[in-house]
């Protein structure tokens, strides 16, 4: 028969002695870690969406009509279909600003519904193929040529929505028939949900649809700066000389989203602080009770030759088993909650970036460390007292 009795066996026996108390502690830890994992998943996903959008945009500055800064971010970061327009003549004025290297523009047409079946709201983006440096790199990679008049490519999410496969299909957009000739790779930005056409088609769209856009209107100007030029200086120059536009720097993309999420973040942090404090108090209270309850047993063990580290190890095993059980359950609950909320929470539903496996593993590891860390911290004080007791004195306490 194998010889298996160790100090860890005693810890397991101890956990089984009070199943209700063990259950309450595990449940509290589960709730705390679930709240942490959910909050971290939410914040990471928002930040990751903003970072990727900003990185992949390819422009240093975005010029939009005055008051449309938030709407531009809605499209780029949150996939929200919206429209805003300014006069195309601004493009020439932007080109002349010192420090500007390249400019291009896009026109946003809202809303595309019922393309071939029931599909969510989407955007048609008309872009200038001669000057574009936003869509073209992705297009070249996928299609290997420019778009012809009457052709469109769709973002990866739109393709999913309209079930577009490899087979070319035709669809009527704003009174004109377009052939969908390809699907762009996922960019991680809001443009993944758009349908892209060349701006050669704008004349036909204006003629054949009741869209309110005028011929000389565009939505956004993308500007690339010359090397070494300070983006802030150029932005200030544009905003000071052209009151009809707002300028968004690449690094500021997502700021309005973050600011609108500020209160939600505060609620998350407050919930975290409260649940952490509660769990810490609970662990401390329970382990103080455990320490009092087992004082005599520990005294007997010390008399039988247990060192201080044996007492510490015994408690640590208990604490770590509890912490790990609560944390693992909390990670599962928090991850499930974040996946569930991602489908029903409008802010999360519109974010272009899903959390990858690596991010989820990191968040899980943070949850595990936090859950077990709280347990160890809460048990530390009662343990310190217990390990220093003189065996005879505690043995006699009966």
């Amino acid at each position: 028969m194998p010889d298996r009795f160790t100090l860890s066996s005693i810890a397991v026996h101890n956990l089984r002695r009070r199943p209700l108390r063990t259950g309450v502690l595990v449940a509290a830890l589960t709730l705390m870690v679930a709240a942490l994992v959910f909050a971290l998943s939410f914040v990471t996903r928002v930040n990751e969406s903003i970072r990727l959008t900003s990185e992949r945009l390819g422009a240093d500055l975005l010029v939009v009509p005055t008051g449309s800064r938030g709407a531009a971010e809605d499209i780029l970061v949150e996939n929200r279909a919206t429209s805003f327009y300014m006069n195309k003549s601004i493009l020439d004025r932007i080109k002349k600003v010192e420090g500007i290297d390249k400019v291009s523009y896009q026109t946003y047409l809202v809303t595309l519904t019922g393309l071939c079946c029931s599909v969510p709201s989407s955007m048609v983006v008309a872009f200038n193929q001669e000057t574009d440096f936003i869509v073209t790199p992705w297009l070249k990679n996928k299609l290997g040529r420019k778009l012809k008049k009457g052709e469109a490519v769709v973002g990866s999410e739109s393709a999913y929505n309209i079930s577009l496969g490899l087979v070319e299909m035709e669809a009527k957009l704003f009174g004109n028939v377009f052939t969908m000739v390809g699907v762009l790779d996922k960019t991680g930005s809001g443009l993944d949900t758009a349908v892209f056409i060349s701006d050669d088609n704008m004349q036909d769209i204006l003629r054949n649809s009741d869209t309110k856009i005028k011929q000389d209107e565009i939505s956004v100007i993308f500007a690339k700066l010359k090397k070494g030029v300070d983006a802030y200086t150029v932005m200030s120059e544009i905003e000071n000389t052209m009151i009809e536009v707002d300028v968004v720097m690449r690094k500021d993309i997502g700021k309005s989203l973050l600011s609108s999420l500020g209160d939600i973040s505060k609620i998350f942090y407050l919930t975290m602080v409260l649940s952490t404090s509660l769990s810490l108090f609970l662990v401390w209270a329970i382990f103080t009770a455990v320490a009092n309850e087992r004082t005599r047993e520990i005294g007997i063990m010390r008399a039988l030759g247990a060192k201080e580290r044996h007492v510490v190890n015994l408690f640590l095993v208990e604490v770590l088993v509890l912490g790990a059980a609560g944390s693992i359950a909390g990670i599962a609950a928090g991850t499930s909650l974040s996946l569930l909320m991602a489908k029903s929470f409008s802010i999360l539903k519109n974010l272009p970036v899903e959390l990858g496996a690596f991010s989820r593993v990191l968040i899980g590891a943070a949850g595990l460390m936090f859950g077990t860390g709280i347990c160890v911290l809460g048990a530390l004080f009662p343990l310190q007292r217990l390990k220093k007791l003189e065996p005879l004195l505690v043995i006699k306490q009966e």
């Binding site: 194998p2 010889d3 005693i10 039988l304």
Partner: protein, 228 residues
């Protein structure tokens, strides 16, 4: 050289403003393999003296040398090692851990030995089974303490004291809960272990008949020790 030398040991307890002397200026030398008993009234300091020799209580003054080493000059870990590998305790009260079975209670002291007490596959278990057989409790090996009578619990605690192969047994009223026949069996068991293994026994008892069976008898009165 004596195995144990108690040099002018004093232990006092402070209760409020009162200082109560439990053991007063006791000196004693015990040779390896001695079997001695200490008798005395309740509160005379017998248990305290035993605890001091066992290193589970520290003296107010004086020294205790075990094999030439001053116990209270040892660090906490060394003192624990002394208790673990050199001493076997039999407490006056129920001292089994309630959540462990009889076998697990016996294996408990081996967990505190360096390396977790593993000397070979199944050796700890075999020793536990042998000792249980010697105290007549083989059939209770998987029982919990709550399923045993007071006397049976006492016999498990007796067996546990021998698990780590001690050089010294400190027994505080070891036969207190036992019937006459079992008491005699246990005394025979002690004598066998004393002779065969050369284990030193210091036994505290109220029972003068039991004390008479020991090789050397001491009496404690109000913290003072006298040879009989």
């Amino acid at each position: 050289m004596p195995q144990i030398v108690v040099q002018d040991i004093t232990k006092t307890y402070t209760v409020g403003a009162d200082v109560i002397p439990a053991v007063q200026n006791v000196s004693l030398a015990v040779e390896e393999g001695d079997f001695l008993s200490i008798v005395g009234h309740s509160g005379s300091g017998k248990t305290t003296l035993l605890s001091l020799i066992g290193g589970i209580s520290s003296p107010t003054s004086g020294r205790i040398l075990f094999e030439g080493k001053d116990l209270f000059a040892l660090g906490s870990d060394e003192l624990s090692e002394y208790r673990c590998s050199r001493v076997g305790f039999m407490f006056q009260f129920a001292s089994l851990l309630p959540m462990l079975t009889v076998k697990e209670n016996l294996l408990l002291p081996t967990c505190f030995r360096p390396g977790g007490g593993e000397t070979g596959p199944g050796q700890r278990e075999k020793k536990a089974e042998d000792l249980l057989r010697m105290v007549g409790l083989t059939e209770k090996i998987n029982a919990y303490p709550s399923q045993l009578s007071g006397g049976q619990q006492r016999r498990v605690a007796i067996a546990r004291a021998f698990m780590n192969g001690p050089a010294l047994i400190l027994a505080d009223e070891p036969t207190g809960d036992l019937d006459e026949e079992t008491e005699m069996d246990m005394m025979n068991f002690f004598r066998t272990m004393n002779k065969a293994e050369k284990i030193t026994f210091i036994m505290v008892t109220h029972n003068t008949d039991i004390a008479k069976q020991t090789q050397r008898r001491l009496r404690m009165h109000r913290g003072l020790l006298q040879e009989q």
